[in-house]
Symmetry: C2
Subunit: 313 residues, 2 copies
């Protein structure tokens, strides 16, 4: 069984061709660049991956492409939670069969105001149907988008029923108080808490967390990894300040389109900017000011252009 | 090409077996009962159908089962809007190929705060990719659940670009002011406005609307159809009062579980009560009080038991 993941994970942005079909070559290239530049794992098919704009078959094909392309399955934590029980089971079983380190699971997110009983039953049905002791399930708490929260009471029930299988959480609530409550309640039981943004990385590490799964891990993995590696040193606060400042630049723009615009610019590959509806690309003036703001901070993505070019060759 | 649908449409509840797989026989039986008892169309795979808890393949199989089972395709308006462009295209093309009267399309609903540009592009991509003049697309505005609204400005753009194809809307905002604004702006252009609840049926008809697509159409279609058929008569207000009162009983309970509990009770078929996670069945005391409240109103579903029994035979 793969070791538990820790450190900085990127919810890998999914490249599309101009016809909006997934672009396997650019995808493998970007994943390899991330692993070579500070990411210790790849939370593919996350929110910032536009995963919810992909069909189940598209996700499965891309995941197989990654593994066949040389991205180690033990570095992968694919998102497998969907609205439909049968889809979540299919994606999760597939990820486990490929040897992925874990899966990051959204609750079913169409119906709102559902009970903890119903959510417990959802996760339990997936676990029981996948029926594989290799499964490591990370709960995905992102109420600003899913609108369906994962409460402390639900985590407690799932941990009690499925210890070992329920492995942790990504907390994208944006609310440190909530992350801290998860850490205080469950971290000592081997429940791995990942902050949903590097803004909370240092605090998360100081309170028993395992790292962060963060959108900007797609573009700034080396600097974020520095905070992870040096969190116990005297440099930690200064390093944290730096990555928070870069994050604050990115947050002025629509995140997914901005990430892709940055990769397109620093990778010298305009096609990377393509997003699938309902998203739209940055307007030219947005792109210009984003690049200028990052350049002013000496931002760089060293080696990205050659890595992408090699993947496309 | 089928005639445009009007009148009372039910978002048909989807029966599940005890193992949570879709139950084709009960499904066909219920659809036939609805068409024989006041529904002029069936908005299968709506919110109250638990459609978002079904995979794309499950939906396609069920739709084929209905048509093969003798439910006329020209009565069907399946829901085909999903989070993923490719899924929405696949479901829509499939529905058109079967001869369905129309499709009811949710916007992609995972990503929140998306722009009208992005939503326009989403619907436009589906229409362009399906590329079939038989397509009649009804927009599904249900912000309390989808959290992604369909604005008047978006409708105006879509109608201007795809006249004839963009055929109407179901307004489940629960806000009559919004329904009225849609009627005033677009009804005269052949844009068919369906209220999302029978509570607004009479007002909708008096202002140029075409009917309603309503959860409680699953259990009370005959009475709701009376309001549709007699909306220009002196009885209309009294009839409306009656169906609103029944609706108000139902709204005290979780709607989908309550609809299934009512069918299970009046159809004498306990298995009908099954819901898929993340929903949960009514608690026994909820079911008891719901049945008592409806019985006190002389509620009935005449012929349901025999119709279901015949379907299962």
């Amino acid at each position: 069984m793969p070791n538990r993941l820790s450190g900085v994970l990127a919810p890998v942005v999914t490249p599309f061709k101009r016809d909006l079909s997934p672009d396997a070559a650019r995808y493998v290239g970007h994943c390899k660049w991330l692993l070579a530049n500070g990411c210790r794992g790849l939370a593919v098919f996350g929110t910032n991956s536009e995963a919810n704009s992909l069909s189940v078959d598209e996700r499965m094909t891309l995941l197989e492409t990654l593994v066949q392309g040389g991205v180690p399955a033990e570095k992968l934590m694919p998102g497998t939670g969907t609205c439909a029980l049968t889809d979540s089971v299919r994606l999760t079983a597939h990820a486990v069969s490929l040897g992925c380190a874990g899966v990051l699971m959204l609750p079913p997110f169409y119906y709102k105001g559902v009970s903890d009983d119903g959510l417990f039953r959802s996760f339990a049905e997936v676990i029981e149907r996948v029926a594989d002791s290799r499964l490591r399930l990370y709960l995905y708490h992102i109420p600003p988008v899913s609108q369906v929260p994962i409460t402390l009471a639900l985590i407690e029930r799932l941990l009690a029923r499925y210890p070992g299988t329920v492995a942790g959480v990504k907390d994208s609530s944006g609310d440190w108080t909530n992350t801290k409550a998860m850490l205080d309640a469950f971290a000592k039981q081997g429940f791995d808490v990942f902050a949903g943004s590097e803004v909370f990385l240092l605090e998360n590490m100081r309170n028993g967390g395992k790292g962060c799964i963060t959108a900007t891990g797609n573009i700034n993995p080396a600097a974020i990894n520095q905070v992870f590696e040096r969190w116990q040193t005297s440099e930690a606060d200064a390093l944290q300040k730096g990555i928070t400042a870069t994050r604050n630049v990115m947050q002025k723009y629509p995140m997914m389109a901005a990430l892709k615009a940055v990769i397109a610019h620093w990778g010298r590959d305009p096609e990377w900017a393509t997003v699938r509806p309902p998203l739209v690309e940055l307007a030219p003036e947005q792109k210009k000011s984003l690049v200028a703001e990052l350049a002013a901070r000496d931002f760089d993505m060293p080696g990205l252009g050659p890595t992408l070019a090699a993947a496309l060759a």
